[in-house]
Amino acid sequence: MKEIIDHLKKRFPVYEIGEGPNGVILMSVEAAKLVPMLTSLKTNHGYGILVILSAVDWLEDCKFQLTYIINNPDEKRDLGIRVFIKREDAEMESIHSLWEHAATFQREIKEMFGINFPGSPRVDEPFLLEGWDNLPPMRRDFDTKQYSEDTYFPRPGRETNDPAEYMKQKLYPDE
């Protein structure tokens, strides 16, 4: 493992190298260098499988994080590569040319976070949310509760009690 890390370090601006859950090695790289790095890992180092692509909304830092987990089946080893992109008009280079199924991940992320992957097949088609007309729902500035209140009617039979107010009624109603 150390050889690959040393090799990557020489060729790409990787930083924050550490170990994640289940011993997976995680590292960050500048967004512009991601595709060349993944290409090198796939072609030269046996990381032939894209396991998952996921996103995190760092609202306070005005950033999105994308995490690419790739797998080397011969060595039975996972590697996680993180990139940070700006949150406003978020856009990232597509990797569907490396792995065809990446287009599906990218389509889902486009829908859930609003991160665009120009050129990715069918990236603008709805994935789960047909007819969605709101902020992408996994963005942290999306107000789930407000959406629930605006969209769904209250079910009959629902009633609730404020604990402090209920205790007053029960224990000291006259004070």
């Binding site: 789930t144 509760k145 402090a164 209920y166 205790m167 224990l171």
Partner: protein, 605 residues
């Protein structure tokens, strides 16, 4: 149509006779993953119905509902969460925030009903097949918390800095500390019911978070006109039920109250509290005693327009707060801050005026529309053991009063205090300070009937007394005071192993084979106080109902059998400051109601 399309249905039909690749009952064969977030489970015996799960739920899927068999009581709202699966998205936030740890998600994920209304149930109450399922999502341990389990440490003066002076030992929170501590509050409001004054605790803590301390002060004064005092020495029953105490340390409610009061300068109080101009209603109320209940009654009556006069026996106001509680716990300038605001509302305090001596209660009743009496418990009780009538046996309450008055109090190098309550700790620590000032060292031993675990004093009082070089040796029953040549030599005690008999009556039992002798040349008794009701004439006493324990009976408005006489504070309930404040507030409302009704009934002349 191609040839392939023509034949494919037949090739499909052929498969009917082959062994199927799918399994027949996939569900029972496929339980959810170990940490799957499936249906809710709740241990309703450890749940206290704080409603934090409801508050955090992003989908409004949780309602707090009463449950049969769960009682509403101190520290438990009696409500339990009911989940609407039409809305739940199984995010698990309700489990992650749960203050008691009672809520979890099982790994069960299948549930079939024909009636959609059934997808709403109270976990732990409505029986479900997954009630005993152990697997599923639980709050990850440790270090996965939405709020800090530990309170922000309050800084104290070190024992060596404080043990020979009466300087206030608790330093108070800084802005940063207070906001950090206030941030722990989950705003459930379980505490409010337990506070005798039912203070708006979550609301004033929220004001600290919003850095709106003027709003905080207004909330405090809604129910408590002595916040500097209560912010220091309140018995803080609220903290005993704080839901954060379920898995960590309760919120420092008392210190946060002090922070609000400390940060607001007294000259701004009238503006903040909007009490600059009070319309007088022409009615006069007499108040006996300037302790917490009297001051509280005066404050709320003055706000309603009554002209209040407080009759105080001593030269300063505050009652037990000033003359009972030592200065290192409650500095005099803080008492003055609270009281001078109440005086600024037009409340007149007549000092050095003893009702029953300088003026009779009957006279007060004639000259005023109503009278409130909160005369407190200022008579020390004696152990009445052999030797307790010696001149060097003192009452703690008398000595504490003399220390406040600045009188020289009797002192020797070896003192014995009898008593295990907070007053006993107060006198022990005060005398230890005076000994250090006079002799350079403390030589004092406090002993109580109660064993260490059952001492009525606050735990921190006992620990701090020891830090200040006082000895606290509990679990001994005083037998007699040894006197030789008219001088006290010490106290004989026997081990006390039981305080109450089977019927719950106070009946201490001693082991006479285990005797001890504490050496000392002065004894202070601190085993409780009684009331002095000598201001009630025999005629008046006949018109009042007095119970077996000598307490005057009052109604829920603290009105006695004499309609114009209201009573409250330690002589009725407590003893503590916050009950006094609550009594005074309720009595003020009661007096207002009484005089309003009376006026209605009086024909206009």
């Amino acid at each position: 149509m191609s040839l392939k399309d023509t034949f494919s249905p037949f090739s499909a039909w052929r498969k009917v006779f082959e062994k199927p690749v799918t399994i027949k009952d996939p569900i029972s064969e496929r339980p959810g993953a170990d940490r799957y977030r499936g249906f809710h489970k709740n241990d309703i015996t450890s749940c206290i119905g704080c409603g934090t799960c409801e508050t955090i739920c992003e989908n409004e899927a949780i309602d707090m509902v009463p449950v049969e068999g769960v009682e509403t009581k101190d520290g438990d709202s009696g409500l339990r969460p009911r989940v609407d699966y039409g809305r739940c998205c199984w995010c698990g936030l309700c489990v992650d925030i749960c203050t008691t740890g009672s809520l979890s998600l099982t790994n069960a994920y299948t549930w079939v009903e024909e009636d959609p209304e059934k997808y709403r149930y109270t976990p732990g109450v409505d029986e479900k097949p997954w009630d005993n399922e152990e697997k599923g999502w639980k709050k990850p341990e440790p270090n996965y918390e939405f709020y800090n389990l530990n309170r922000v440490t309050m800084e104290h003066l070190h024992p060596e800095e404080r043990s020979d002076s009466f300087v206030e030992m608790v330093k108070g929170y800084s802005k940063e500390q207070a906001e950090k501590e206030a941030d722990r509050c989950v705003e459930c409001g379980i505490c409010t019911a337990t506070c005798p004054a039912h203070m708006g605790i979550p609301e004033y803590i929220k004001a600290i978070r919003n850095d709106d301390l003027e709003e905080g002060l207004r909330i405090l004064y809604d129910t408590n006109p002595l916040p500097e005092i209560c912010g220091r020495i309140c018995t803080h029953k609220c903290e005993t039920v704080c839901t954060l105490g379920q898995r960590g340390e309760a919120l420092s409610i008392r210190w946060l109250k002090r922070y609000i009061a400390d940060q607001n300068p007294s000259e701004k109080y009238k503006k903040i509290l909007n009490s600059g101009f009070l319309k007088k209603n022409g009615k006069k109320i007499a108040i006996i005693g300037s302790g917490p209940s009297g001051l509280s009654a005066a404050h709320y009556l003055a706000l309603m327009g009554y002209t209040c006069t407080i009759f105080e026996k001593l030269a300063k106001a505050g009652g037990m707060m000033r003359f009972g509680i030592p200065e290192y716990r409650l500095p005099y300038d803080q008492i003055d801050k609270d009281i001078s605001y109440i005086e600024s509302l037009g409340v007149d305090i007549k000092y050095n005026t003893t009702v029953g001596v300088d003026i009779t209660l009957e006279e007060l009743g004639e000259k005023h529309d109503a009278v409130f009496s909160g005369t407190g418990l200022h008579l020390g009780r004696s152990t009445r053991i052999e030797g307790s009538d010696h001149k060097n046996v003192y009452q703690s309450i008398d000595l504490l009063r003399d220390i406040t008055l600045g009188k020289e109090v009797p002192l020797t190098e070896d003192i014995i205090v009898i008593g295990g309550g907070n007053v006993a700790m107060d006198i022990t620590r005060s005398l230890a300070r005076l000994q250090k000032q006079k002799y350079g060292k403390a030589g004092i031993i406090a002993t109580s009937l109660e064993t260490e675990d059952k001492m009525p004093a606050d735990r921190e009082e006992v620990l701090e007394a020891r830090e200040e070089d006082a000895t606290v040796n509990p679990g001994w029953a005083p037998q007699r005071i040894e006197i030789e040549n008219d001088k006290i030599k010490g106290l004989h005690v026997a081990q006390c192993y039981s305080l109450f008999d089977d019927e719950g009556k106070f009946n201490p039992q001693c082991n006479m084979d285990n005797l001890q002798f504490f050496e000392g040349s002065m004894v202070v008794e601190s085993i409780g106080q009684g009331m002095d009701l000598s201001y009630l004439s025999e005629d008046l006493k006949h018109e009042l109902e007095i119970d077996k324990r000598g307490r005057i009976k009052v109604n829920e408005n603290f009105q006695s059998g004499l309609p114009w006489l209201f009573l409250g504070g330690d002589i009725i309930q407590g003893p503590d400051v916050i009950h006094g404040i609550a009594n005074g507030h309720k009595a003020a409302k009661g007096i207002d109601e009484f005089l309003f009704e009376k006026q209605k009934d009086t024909p206009k002349t």
